[in-house]
């Protein structure tokens, strides 16, 4: 089963990369209020069981894919 993990800097965490992108978008003439830059991790899991995949992905996020102090995550499971 395929899954995508989206990792974001938590609200309130300084995100200079997001600010730089925001500045550039404004420079291009886009009316942008805020931009935050995170990270995307695609994972191909061996299991086809959605509950099992979700539990495993959450463990991955807690142990390695995110730093819970500064980042939040959302998991998108692919179609079974």
């Amino acid at each position: 089963m395929r899954a995508t993990v989206l990792v974001r800097p938590k609200p309130g965490i300084l995100d200079p990369q997001g600010q730089a992108v925001e500045g550039s978008l404004r420079h291009l003439g886009f009316d942008v209020a805020e931009t935050r830059v995170g990270r995307l991790v695609d994972v191909e899991l061996a299991t086809e069981d959605r509950a099992e995949a979700l539990a495993e992905l959450e463990r991955m996020c807690e142990q390695l894919l995110t730093n819970p102090l500064i980042e939040s995550y959302t998991i998108e499971l692919g179609a079974a």
């Binding site: 800097p9 200079p16 390695l64």
Partner: protein, 235 residues
């Protein structure tokens, strides 16, 4: 009490470490015996009195700085050593690894400027009552170089206040000298027990007057003193 002549202070080498030899040379200059330990080693040398995690770009800084290194076999030994009260110093990438491993509070984020900074910075010693700053003198200003892209240390306000009250903020950037946007101008932080210390500046690059400053020797010399004492206790 017999004083051990040269405390053993290994420097850990990860793939991508690049300040290990500087750290080794500085420690030996200050009277330590400093073998380099490979990241796949499962044990620290028998007489280890303190451990140094050096600067560099371990595992290419992939994912987050220090995030991969913490899973290396040697880090299990370092964590166990620290849990037993062993002295552990993390410099720059070593500091990042220690925060990722949960041995030190906070996290290190990309510099506020998004630029890699490489220059001498002015630091204020907030406490000399630690194994890593005993030679420094409280309130003293030190000049030690930084060179990093991810040195913006972060904790929330409540934790910063708590760490400050506990005397864990051992080193701050002087007013106006914060090179990375770290909260509270924090340059170096101790764990609760005071046996683990991480800092972004590089004391190992400031031990020879030829290179501009010898203030780094005050920090590494403090560690050598403390390691000598703990080695004497072990004997």
């Amino acid at each position: 009490m017999s004083i051990a002549p040269a405390p053993v202070i290994p420097v850990v080498v990860f793939p991508g470490s690049n300040d290990d030899r500087d750290a080794q040379r500085a420690l030996e200059l200050l009277g330590a015996e400093s073998p380099r330990v490979w990241h796949t080693d499962e044990q620290l040398p028998a007489a280890t009195a303190a451990v140094v995690l050096p600067g560099g770009f371990s595992y290419g800084d992939y994912l987050r700085c220090g995030a991969i290194a913490r899973f290396s076999p040697v880090m299990q030994a370092v964590s166990a050593f620290a849990a037993d009260g062993g002295l552990v110093l993390g410099i720059c990438n070593g500091f990042q690894i220690l925060t990722e491993a949960g041995l030190l509070p906070g996290a290190l984020r990309p510099n506020e400027s998004l630029s890699f900074v490489c220059r001498d910075v002015a630091l204020i010693v907030e406490t000399s009552e630690s194994a890593f700053t005993s030679r420094c003198g409280q309130g003293r200003e030190l000049s030690i170089p930084v060179k990093h892209g991810d040195g913006c240390w972060f904790v929330d306000d409540a934790l910063l206040e708590e760490l400050d009250a506990n005397g864990q903020i051992a080193l701050r950037y002087a007013d106006g000298a914060n090179p990375n946007g770290a909260v509270g101008n924090v340059a170096g932080v101790l764990n609760g027990d005071g046996n683990v210390f991480g800092l972004m500046p590089h004391p190992e690059h400031a031990v020879d007057a030829l290179l501009g400053s010898t203030d780094g020797a005050l920090i590494l010399g403090s560690l050598v003193d403390a390691a000598r004492l703990s080695a004497a206790v072990l004997v």
